[in-house]
C-alpha cells in the first residue's frame, strides 16, 4: 500500500529513478517504472523525478499527459480493460463493455471506491482471433469467460497490479 506522505514514497521514487539520472531520454521509461510501483503517478513522486532528472515539473507533466497509459489519480488493484479493437468492435465489444460495467458497477474510466477495480478500454491487445476479449491485469480473457474470472477475483479479494 502506498503511503501518500512521508519518506517512503520519496525514497522509493529515488530508488526507481537512480539508474536513469544523467542518461539521455529516459523520462518515459522512468515514468513507466514509477507507475509500475505505485500504480499511478503521484505528484510527490513527479517532484522527486524532476529533481533527480534535472527537468522542470511542467515538462514532466507535459510528457506524461501526452501518453494514454499514464494516470495521475490512484487506481484499483485490478485493472479490467475491455478491448475495443476492430475485430472486437465487429464482434460486439460495445455490449461486452456494458456487461462489464454492470458486473463491476463502474463506468468506463472509473475506479471503485474501495480501490478494488479500475475499468477502462484498450484500443487493441492483438488477440483478434479470439474477439471479443477483455484483459484482466494484463491476462487476456475471452469475453464469455469474463464473468467467472471477475467473480474469482472478487472472492480472492483482488489480485495484484
Amino acid at each position: 500500500m502506498v503511503t501518500e506522505c512521508g519518506t517512503t514514497l520519496l525514497e522509493r521514487t529515488r530508488g526507481i529513478v537512480a539508474p536513469y539520472a544523467g542518461r539521455e531520454g529516459m523520462l518515459v521509461h522512468a515514468l513507466q517504472d514509477v507507475q509500475g510501483v505505485f500504480g499511478y503517478l503521484p505528484e510527490d513522486a513527479l517532484r522527486v523525478l524532476a529533481e533527480e532528472l534535472g527537468v522542470s515539473l511542467s515538462h514532466i507533466w507535459g510528457v506524461a499527459s501526452f501518453y494514454d497509459r499514464f494516470h495521475f489519480i490512484r487506481r484499483g488493484r485490478n485493472t479490467v480493460r475491455v478491448c475495443t479493437g476492430t475485430a472486437c468492435q465487429v464482434q460486439g465489444s460495445r455490449n461486452v463493455l456494458q456487461q462489464v460495467e454492470k458486473l463491476l458497477g463502474l463506468r468506463n474510466g472509473e475506479t471503485s471506491p474501495d480501490f478494488s477495480f479500475t475499468l477502462e478500454t484498450v484500443n487493441c491487445v492483438g488477440c483478434c482471433g479470439l474477439a471479443p476479449v477483455v484483459t484482466v491485469n494484463n491476462e487476456v480473457v475471452p469475453a464469455p469467460e469474463m464473468e467467472r474470472v471477475l467473480a474469482d477475483l472478487r472472492k480472492g479479494n483482488g489480485g495484484n497490479d
Binding site: G25, Q89, C124, C128
Partner: protein, 636 residues
C-alpha cells in the same frame, strides 16, 4: 555457455545442436502465443509435461509461439507426424501421451476436420487453412521455443549474420536487399534497400537502428506474433542492418506496452544474444560492435509514425515533425537513423539465406515476397496467416479463412486498419499488393484484415475508425486535429438518423482536404475508411440519411419496431403510444416509422409479445458469445 567468438564457433554449435534436434524425434509442441494462452494453453503444457514424467517417457514438450490457427486454440502439434490438435484441454493430456506419443495414433476428436469432407485430418499440410499459405517469415513461429536461442540456432538462425560478417561487404548486403525488392512492411512500402543505402551514405559519428514494434492498429497482431514467436529473427535482421549502414553501435526495439509477452520474449532474446556474443562488442569476432535496448511505448498510436516514435524514445511527447530532413539523415537525437518494421527485419535473414533472385521470384511486379496478415472478424477461421504478395482477397477470406461464419454474406474486408479502407465484394479477386490496394482507395497498412458480414453497418465502422484516429490525433496540425473532429461530428449525426444529403459532399471534401494537408501519415490516412465506404457503400449512407434506416440493423438509434404476424389487433399498443404512431391499415396494425421514437411503451403492453425490433438484413450481434457468435467448429 561460452561466447561464440567466430562464425566457426557458431557453425560448430549448430552441428552439436542439430544432433539433438534431429528430425524424426517425437516432440510435443504446445502453442503459447497470446491467443492460445488466453484459451488456457499453459495449463495444457503443464499437464502434458506432468503426464510424460509420470509415464516415464523422454519426449520434450516445447512451448512455441503462435502456430497461426488461433480460432481453435489451445493448439498442440505432435512431431514427427506434424499432427495438429485443436481445442486441447488439460484433461486431454493423459490420452494425448498414451495414444499419440506412445502408440503414434491420431486422436480423432482432437484432430481438425476437413471443412468440406468433415474427415478428421492430422497433418497441417492437409488443412486448407495452412495448405494455401506460404509461411516464410513465419517459418519458425510455432516450431521453435522463442525463449531458447539454441532452438533458433538449430533451425539455421544467425547463419545469415555469420555469412554477412565473414564474406560480404556492407555495399553487397545493400545491393542484395535492393535486388530482392524488399519493401517496408510497416505500411508505406518504401524500398528497404534504398533506405539502407541512404543510411549508409549519411554521415555521423553516431547512427541508430530502430525496430518499430508499436503496432497500434486495432485489428493487427502480426508484429506481436513475430516478436513473441521468433524474436531472434528480428534481432538478426537488425544486426545485419547495423552492419550494412556502418558506424552503428546502438539499436532500439520500440514495443507497445500493451504487448507484455512480446516485451518479455524480446528481453530474453536480447539477453541470450548478448550471452552468446551475438550482440555487444566484437560480434562473432568480426569487429562489429552493436547492442540493442528495449523501449516501451506508453499508449499513443501516433508513436507508430517514425518521427514521433523517435521523439518518444528521446523521452519527449511523441509528436511527428515535418520531413525532410528524413530520419536516415537526421533522426534520433539528430543522428542518422534507420527505422524498419518488425516484419521487414524478419525478412532480412531469409533473403540473405536464400538469395535475392529466389525472393524476387515471389510476389508481384512491384511487391516482392510474402505478407503476413492478421485475419479476424466474421470469418470461420481467424488467425495469423502469410500469403505471397498478389494473393487475392477471395483466396484469403474464403480459401484460408473458410468464408463467412454461420453462412452469412460477405460484405467487405477492411484492410490496413484506421488508415486503410474497405474492399467490397466487387473487388474480391483483387490481388493484394501495395499498388493495387491504393488503386481501390485502401492501403496495405500493417496487415490487419478484418472481415465483416451483412450485420456490420459500414457507416458505423467508418465512424469507429474515425473516432479512433480523432482520439489518437496528437493535435499538432489543424487539418487532423480539427478536420477529423468535424468529420466525426457529421458521422455521429448520420448514425443517429439526423444526417442530411449535403453531409456526404462535406465528408468527401473534408476527407480529401485532410489527406492532402495533414502533417503525418496518421492524418493523411485518417479519412481513408470514410472515403472508401463513401465510394463503395454509398447506399448505406443514403439509407441512414433519407430513410432513417440502418440496413445492417446495428445502429441503436435507428432500430425500428415492427408488429409481428401474431398480432390480434387488441389495440392496447395504439392507446399506449405517446406519439400516436400506431395506425390501423388494411393489413392490420402498423407503426409509422417517422412518428415512432422507439420508446418501447408498446412493447411492454403487448399481450402477444409480438412487437419487436426489426433488424436490417441481419441480426445485431451481442458479442457475448452465447448467441451463436462463438467460433465455428466445423473443423472439429
Amino acid at each position: 555457455m561460452t561466447r561464440l567468438a567466430s562464425a566457426a564457433d557458431l557453425a560448430a554449435l549448430r552441428e552439436r545442436l542439430a544432433a539433438q534436434y534431429a528430425s524424426g524425434e517425437p516432440v510435443v509442441r504446445v502453442c503459447t502465443g497470446s491467443a492460445c494462452r488466453a484459451a488456457g494453453s499453459l495449463r495444457v503444457a503443464d499437464a502434458v509435461t506432468e503426464e510424460l514424467r509420470r509415464a516415464g517417457i523422454q519426449v520434450s514438450v516445447r512451448r512455441t509461439g503462435c502456430q497461426g490457427f488461433c480460432q481453435h486454440g489451445p493448439l498442440v502439434m505432435v512431431d514427427p507426424e506434424g499432427w495438429l490438435y485443436g481445442g486441447v484441454t488439460p484433461s486431454d493430456a493423459a490420452k494425448l501421451v498414451d495414444l499419440t506419443v506412445r502408440r503414434r495414433q491420431l486422436i480423432e476428436h482432437l484432430a481438425c476436420r476437413h471443412p468440406e469432407t468433415g474427415r478428421p485430418i492430422g497433418s497441417t499440410s492437409e488443412l486448407p487453412f495452412y495448405q494455401r499459405q506460404t509461411r516464410l517469415v513465419l517459418r519458425h513461429c510455432g516450431l521453435i521455443d522463442p525463449t531458447s536461442i539454441e532452438d533458433y540456432i538449430a533451425a539455421g538462425g544467425y547463419r545469415a549474420l555469420a555469412r554477412v560478417l565473414e564474406t560480404m561487404s556492407p555495399e553487397a548486403v545493400i545491393s542484395l536487399i535492393k535486388r530482392a525488392g524488399l519493401r517496408g512492411r510497416g505500411g508505406a512500402g518504401f524500398p528497404t534497400g534504398r533506405k539502407w543505402e541512404a543510411g549508409r551514405a549519411a554521415t555521423g559519428t553516431r547512427k541508430f537502428v530502430i525496430c518499430n514494434a508499436d503496432e497500434g492498429d486495432p485489428g493487427a497482431f502480426m508484429d506481436r506474433s513475430l516478436l513473441e514467436g521468433d524474436p531472434h529473427a528480428v534481432l538478426e535482421g537488425m544486426i545485419i542492418c547495423a552492419y550494412a549502414i556502418g558506424d552503428c553501435r546502438e539499436g532500439f526495439v520500440y514495443v507497445r506496452e500493451e504487448y507484455p509477452l512480446a516485451l518479455e520474449h524480446v528481453r530474453i532474446a536480447i539477453e541470450k544474444a548478448r550471452e552468446f556474443g551475438l550482440l555487444g562488442k566484437n560480434i562473432l569476432g568480426s569487429g562489429l560492435d552493436f547492442d540493442i535496448e528495449i523501449r516501451r511505448g506508453a499508449g499513443a498510436f501516433v508513436c507508430g509514425e517514425s518521427t514521433a516514435l523517435m521523439f518518444s524514445i528521446e523521452g519527449k511527447r511523441g509528436m511527428p515533425r515535418v520531413t525532410p530532413p528524413r530520419s536516415v539523415e537526421a533522426g534520433l537525437w539528430g543522428c542518422p537513423t534507420c527505422l524498419n518494421n518488425v516484419e521487414t527485419f524478419a525478412n532480412v535473414p531469409l533473403i540473405l539465406n536464400r538469395g535475392a533472385d529466389w525472393y524476387a521470384g515471389i510476389g508481384t511486379e512491384g511487391s516482392k515476397g510474402t505478407k503476413v496478415f492478421a485475419l479476424s472478424g466474421k470469418v470461420k477461421y481467424t488467425g495469423l496467416i502469410e500469403v505471397p504478395m498478389g494473393a487475392t482477397v477471395r483466396q484469403v477470406v474464403f480459401d484460408i479463412g473458410g468464408g463467412i461464419e454461420q453462412g452469412k454474406r460477405f460484405k467487405a474486408a477492411q484492410i490496413g486498419g484506421p488508415g486503410g479502407g474497405c474492399i467490397a465484394e466487387e473487388h474480391l479477386d483483387l490481388p493484394i499488393d501495395f499498388e493495387s490496394l491504393k488503386g481501390v482507395g485502401s492501403a496495405m497498412g500493417s496487415g490487419a484484415l478484418v472481415v465483416v458480414d451483412e450485420t456490420t453497418c459500414m457507416v458505423d465502422l467508418a465512424r469507429y475508425f474515425l473516432s479512433f484516429t480523432q482520439q489518437e490525433s496528437c493535435g499538432k496540425c489543424p487539418p487532423c486535429r480539427i478536420g477529423t473532429y468535424q468529420m466525426l461530428r457529421i458521422l455521429n449525426r448520420i448514425v443517429e438518423g439526423k444526417g442530411e444529403e449535403a453531409d456526404l459532399r462535406k465528408l468527401d471534401d473534408l476527407g480529401r482536404l485532410i489527406s492532402r494537408t495533414s502533417l503525418c501519415g496518421l492524418g493523411k490516412s485518417a479519412p481513408g475508411p470514410v472515403l472508401s465506404t463513401l465510394r463503395f457503400f454509398r447506399e448505406e449512407y443514403l439509407a441512414h440519411i433519407l430513410e432513417r434506416r440502418c440496413p445492417a440493423g446495428s445502429c441503436e438509434t435507428l432500430k425500428r419496431l415492427t408488429i409481428g404476424p401474431e398480432c390480434v389487433q387488441c389495440g392496447l399498443c395504439e392507446e399506449t403510444c405517446p406519439q400516436h404512431a400506431i395506425m390501423e391499415t388494411e393489413n392490420g396494425l402498423a407503426i409509422d416509422l417517422l412518428l415512432c421514437v422507439n420508446c418501447g411503451a408498446c412493447v411492454s403492453v403487448c399481450p402477444m409479445e409480438c412487437i419487436a425490433e426489426a433488424t436490417g438484413e441481419g441480426g445485431a450481434n451481442d458479442g457475448t458469445g452465447d448467441e451463436g457468435t462463438g467460433p465455428d467448429h466445423s473443423y472439429h
